[in-house]
């Protein structure tokens, strides 16, 4: 009981110490980097969605790191669960409502995911979000048992190729433009059109494919197997 009170008092003291950080007045002016991105971003990179131009180009290396983290996580899940035997016998058949709803919804979900990552440089969202929406469509297929088994060779090939092409485009920026992951290896095009912003749409399509196949592989590994 006493130790609980001590923990409670320690919590309150920590909160009091951290309080100035919370109530600290936020500066009204932009920092130098933010002002640069806001002013020069649209004309330099040609992407209407400023968040995209920061994520894919100015801080593109961070995004590459995030994609790599996701790749390692998927590999770990596949390594842990891949050795287990496939579960065949005691799967309950999906209900009528679920299978009808899934067959109605999954093409729309796949289309929406593709829309999100193709328009990543114009509207909110991008490769990561589009990839997750595609994985959600795939999840519906798995739940309704319209797909029993996944062709792992095709999915692994798609994932590896899109990852390698992403790094390849980044390296091409080193030779043809200003630096690694510079998007000006392709013409910038007209601001705000679908074919604009140089290599950004290409990179986002690759990221979308990669994230979509990776998350689908995680879901498939979670569902279809059972410890032997």
């Amino acid at each position: 009981m006493i130790s609980r009170w001590i923990a409670f008092i320690a919590l309150i003291l920590t909160a009091l110490v951290l309080l100035p950080f919370v109530t600290m007045p936020v500066s009204e002016e932009l920092t130098e980097t933010a002002a640069y991105y806001l002013e020069k971003g649209p004309e330099e990179l040609g992407a209407a969605n400023l968040v995209t131009s920061i994520i894919v180009t100015y801080r593109g290396l961070d995004t590459l790191g995030e994609v790599a983290v996701l790749f390692f996580a998927t590999t770990g899940v596949g390594l842990l669960l891949g050795k287990m035997g496939a579960r065949e016998d005691k799967i309950h058949p999906a209900s009528e409502i679920l299978s009808t709803g899934a067959s109605l919804l999954y093409p729309i979900l796949l289309l929406f995911g593709a829309y999100i990552f193709i328009h990543g440089h114009l509207t909110p969202g991008g490769g990561f979000q589009g990839g997750v929406v595609i994985a959600t469509g795939f999840l519906l297929l798995l739940l309704s048992q319209r797909v029993k088994k996944v062709n792992h060779t095709v999915m692994n090939l798609l994932e590896s190729l899109s990852g390698a092409a992403y790094v390849g485009i980044g390296a091409a920026g080193l030779f043809l433009a200003g630096g690694f992951l510079d998007n000006r290896i392709l013409p910038l095009g007209e601001f705000g059109r679908l074919f604009s912003a140089g290599a950004i749409p290409l990179i986002y399509v690759l990221v979308g494919l990669k994230v979509g196949t990776e998350l689908s592989a995680i879901l498939e590994n979670m569902k279809g197997r059972e410890p032997v």
Binding site: A135, T136, L139, P227
Partner: protein, 84 residues
């Protein structure tokens, strides 16, 4: 107006988080933790960060909930038929 909405959403989030911890029924606890993510994505949208809101809604309340549910169902399946 926005402030009131944010406070209501914040209270709902805390309630969801407490439910997720204290619920005896594990399925209900997983659903409660998913609802915390859903409300968080709504708050991101109000704070004008649609990119983050999309990620939070899809990953936090969608895929994570499903992965937790899969894990739970597999743990139950193991408990029902003990292996030797």
């Amino acid at each position: 107006m926005i402030t009131v909405l944010m406070i209501v959403l914040g209270v709902m989030m805390i309630a969801g988080a407490l439910l997720a911890v204290y619920m005896k029924n594990l399925t209900a606890a997983i659903i409660a933790s998913g609802s915390v993510s859903l409300i968080a994505s709504l708050m991101y949208l109000i704070l004008a960060a649609p990119d983050v809101a999309m990620t939070e809604a899809a990953i936090g309340s969608g895929l994570t909930t499903v992965v937790f549910l899969y894990a739970l169902s597999r743990m139950r399946g193991k408990k029902e038929e003990p292996r030797d």
